[in-house]
């Protein structure tokens, strides 16, 4: 089993759906993966967001967006977590406010364990990128007498895994 396989298994366990694609296919894959209206942060990989994903919007439009598309800087195979950075680009609110969060993850950025992720986190902090969240599945609560997903955060998470084009 590779870290990617473990990661995808962990996503299944969390009921997090996913697509596997390449850089060339990314824009089309995202176009199919978002619910409208969608907002997004420009990607960290060499591809552009589809036209249906707005990168300029008012806070009100963010609040009303059905989908937020953001980079995921790391994937953690042990937990099925995606790591979202709090950059000036708004990754954090875009991953939190819309009902559906679509995270774009480079397959090369999947690490095996939580410890690997903390090591990476420590190096990011040292490099001046000090705010990240390990997000694992949808937001959830059992405080109202039964487990419900989608509390203050998204109730659907979808991961788009970008793999090297081996063709």
């Amino acid at each position: 089993m590779t870290a990617t396989d473990d990661f995808l298994d962990a996503l299944d366990d969390l009921d997090v759906s996913h697509d596997r694609t390449t850089l060339d296919g990314l824009s089309a894959t995202l176009a199919a993966a978002v619910d409208d209206p969608a907002v997004g942060v420009p990607l960290h990989v060499d591809a552009t967001l589809p036209d249906s994903v707005a990168t300029t919007f008012t806070p009100g439009e963010l609040q009303d967006a059905a989908t937020g598309v953001t980079p995921a800087r790391l994937g953690i195979a042990e937990y099925g977590s995606v790591v979202i950075r709090s950059s000036a680009g708004g990754d954090e609110p875009l991953s939190l406010y819309p009902e559906r969060h679509v995270a774009v993850l480079d397959a090369a950025d999947v690490v095996a364990t939580g410890r690997d992720a903390v090591d990476w986190l420590a190096s990011e902090v040292a490099a001046g990128r000090g705010s990240h969240v390990f997000a694992t599945g949808a937001s959830a609560t059992a405080d109202m007498g039964g487990l419900v997903e989608g509390v203050h955060g998204p109730n659907e998470v979808h991961v788009v895994l970008v793999e090297a084009d081996t063709a």
Partner: protein, 737 residues
């Protein structure tokens, strides 16, 4: 019954009928999930050791870490305020709100702000405060206090929450399902978050080197509170500081597994505030444009302000307290609550003080609110030690409870009725110690007297008037059967009989330790142990040695327990030197040797005794593994239901009993309750009798209809006798020839 005891018993009875069943179901579930999560995670024990070592070092370096943290946060553009006490912290936050003209404030869950009663201070300052964690929101609406440090509203049923929301908000369509209520609360609180001027969070961990902080949540509200308003105030205890993010690993491994049995919580967030996330003014129609340059920048947003309020409020004193310092290693996961049989029965409104609840709360309450608050519930810790295995940072929570009990005993006023038990009590404790504690703490003396005068003592003790007097003055519940003292003690029996394996024929030599229960009350299990060992060619000795000190220790009588420990060690040391193993029938006595004696004896002595000591079934297991034949033993019944003693569980003894019974041909079913509820003297006490029986019901349900039930502890045997009727033997009685 004294009025104080009566009041306490009534309060407990009320909780057993109301909140207890709701909480019990939920925390038992979390407890089971914790076991499963720990089982799935290979490095569980290694991570606990690492986390413990990191916390020990961090608390030792705390003053330096506070200063380092201050410099880091200030270098990042934030502000640090170290508050001496609750009033100081509240003043800082309310003044900050005033300066900013803040009208509304949103909070994510923080027990530290509960400790400060920050919400009251904010209300007095005219700031509208909204709790956004849904459990905390429910508790705020109900004007109640959290019943669990992780799940504040666990004591509320879905129906109660629905009634509360419907009465408060009068929605067009009444709310009913968890889904509907969650959606409603999300929308309502979402608006509050978007319009709030200030966001207050706690912090699970703070990192000195970089000025970062971590929050561990499932709902996403903490992140929204931290980043949506322009001003973020994090309020946390000084003990939360770790040196650097490099130290975070073991805590990420452990905290969610210990708290809820999740491998990891939904959101583990690291902030190094003020963060780069853009501030959002939801009333503005100005579009935000995110170019590529912005997307890759991590410079703090200019509009953001960050204040870190580090709360001392008694923590520096706790740090200087050699006995209670460990409290500060606590990461507030609630595993000690979830693993506690008494907590499962009454919840945090019974097993808790002003703010904190569960086993570790005794340390927290003693530290931050004082002994009176700790004293309200300290008795509910029976020392069963199941939390010791549960705690991710390996805090000896029973010891903290024992120390606080000891201190409470010493502060107590001398009682008018001391003379009643003074004759019985050659202890090392101050006068003024509660009579029931003195009685139970001196069990050995009582047993000796009772045995010397048996059976008359038993008749007298059973007589109605005697029970009434005992109940009234000593708090011994008359519904509970008293121990039946035996005229012939185990030691006397063995003295007359002598060893049956000649020294020359012996495979090994062992001392069978005559704990007070085996010696004076449950003598048959002692005789069975002797026969079982002899059948496997062990030459047995049963010397006259004092009781282990478990009884006084459980009453918080540490000096008396220490006195016992010295005598026991003196009585056994020469046997150990002679190459004899020490075999113990009573698990609570063995737990003294293995766990508590390291605090009562010189380290070398404690190690020597612990290394030489074995539980009787563990020892039999070892003999069988080394060539002994099960054929030499007796034949147990075909099916045995076995309940392992709580402290025996903590010492991992259960597998030995199961293996031996199986080797002798039985099929064994085990219970999975943490404790039978009897816990030594606990179940005898009038105040706690009903709680004890309630806890026991869980076990009785598991074993209903079982033809043969065995147990290993005296208390468990007595409790199961009471619950199931009939005599419940020790497992060794089932395999002795």
């Amino acid at each position: 019954m004294s009025s104080e005891r009566k009041e306490k018993a009534a309060h407990i009875r009320h909780l057993l009928d109301t909140e207890g069943p709701l909480i019990g179901e939920k925390v038992r579930g979390k407890n089971r999930d914790r076991y499963a999560a720990a089982e799935r995670f290979e490095a569980w024990d290694d991570s606990r050791d690492e986390a413990r070592a990191i916390k020990e070092a961090a608390i030792a370096d705390l003053p330096d870490l506070v200063e380092q943290l201050r410099e880091s946060v200030e270098a990042n553009g934030g502000t640090v305020y170290v508050a001496d006490d609750a009033a100081d912290a509240n003043r800082y936050v309310t003044e900050l709100c005033e300066e900013q003209g803040a009208e509304t404030l949103v909070k994510s869950k923080s027990m530290t702000t509960e400790e400060l009663e920050l919400n009251d201070a904010l209300a007095a300052a005219g700031v509208d405060t909204y709790e956004t964690d849904l459990g905390e929101f429910v508790v705020q609406l109900a004007e109640e206090s959290p019943s669990h440090i992780v799940g504040p509203a666990l004591h509320k049923s879905r129906e109660e929450i629905a009634d509360l929301l419907n009465a408060t908000f009068e929605p067009d369509e009444p709310l009913e399902t968890a889904e509907e209520m969650t959606r409603f609360a999300r929308d309502y609180l979402g608006e509050r978050i978007r319009e709030a001027d200030v966001g207050v969070t706690g912090a699970n961990f703070v990192f000195a080197e970089s000025g970062s902080m971590a929050l561990v949540t499932n709902e996403g509200n903490a992140r929204k509170c931290a980043v949506t308003p322009d001003t973020h105030v994090a309020v946390t205890g000084i003990e939360k500081i770790l040196p650097s993010v490099d130290d975070f690993g073991p805590f990420v491994d452990l905290i969610s597994k210990a708290a809820t049995g999740q491998d990891i919580s939904r959101y583990v967030s690291l902030f190094t505030p003020p963060t780069a996330s853009p501030t959002l003014d939801f009333e503005s129609d100005e579009p935000i444009e995110f170019g590529d340059a912005a997307a890759e920048s991590d410079d703090p947003d200019d509009d953001r302000a960050f204040h870190l309020v580090l709360v001392d409020n008694g923590r520096t004193e706790l740090r200087e307290d050699d006995q209670l310092r460990e409290t500060l290693y606590c990461i507030r996961c609630g595993a000690c609550s979830n693993s506690c049989a008494n907590f499962q029965a009454v919840g945090g409104h019974g097993f808790g003080g002003e703010t904190y609840s569960g086993g570790i709360a005794t340390g927290w309450e003693a530290g931050v609110h004082g002994m009176e608050s700790a004293g309200e519930f300290n008795d509910l810790c029976t020392g069963c030690s199941r939390c010791v295995d549960a705690c991710p940072v390996k805090i000896d929570i029973p010891w903290i409870n024992t120390v606080v009990r000891d201190r409470l005993n010493r502060d107590a006023d001398p009682d008018t009725f001391d003379h009643l038990v003074d004759g019985l009590s050659p202890d090392e404790e101050p006068s003024g110690l509660a009579l029931d504690k003195r009685l139970f703490g001196n069990f050995e003396r009582l047993a000796k007297l009772g045995s010397a005068t048996a059976p008359v003592s038993n008749w007298l003790a059973d007589a109605g008037p005697a029970r009434a007097v005992m109940e009234r003055f000593l708090g011994v519940d008359r519904r509970r059967d008293l121990p039946r003292f035996r005229r012939e003690t185990l030691v006397d029996w063995f003295d007359d009989r002598g060893p049956r394996v000649a020294a020359d024929d012996a495979a090994r030599e062992a001392v069978l330790y005559p704990d007070a229960y085996t010696n004076y009350v449950l003598v048959d299990r002692g005789k069975a142990a002797v026969r079982a060992l002899e059948a496997l060619d062990v030459r047995v000795h049963v010397p006259r040695v004092r009781s282990s000190g478990r009884a006084p220790l459980s009453q918080g009588m540490i000096s008396t327990a220490e006195d016992h420990a010295h005598h026991v060690y003196a009585g056994l040391a020469e046997h150990i030197d002679a190459g004899r193993d020490v075999v113990v029938v009573e698990p609570s006595a063995l737990a003294m040797f293995e766990r508590e004696y390291e605090r009562l004896l010189a380290p070398k002595s404690a190690d020597r005794l612990a290394d030489a000591s074995y539980e009787v079934m563990e020892y039999v297991y070892g003999l069988l593994e080394n060539g002994g034949s099960p054929d030499a033993l007796g034949h147990p019944p075909e099916a045995v239901a076995y309940h392992s003693h709580c402290q025996g569980r903590t010492l991992d003894l259960e597998p030995y009993t199961v293996a031996v019974l199986e080797a002798c041909g039985a099929t064994v079913r085990t219970s999975d309750v943490e404790c039978c509820g009897m816990a030594g003297s606990f179940g005898y006490k009038e105040t706690y009798y009903e709680l004890s029986m309630d806890v026991g019901e869980e076990l009785a349900d598991q074993f209903a209809g079982e033809p043969v039930v065995a147990a290993s502890g005296t208390s468990c045997q007595e409790q199961l006798d009471a619950l199931l009727g009939g005599e419940v033997p020790h497992a060794v009685e089932l395999i002795a020839p």
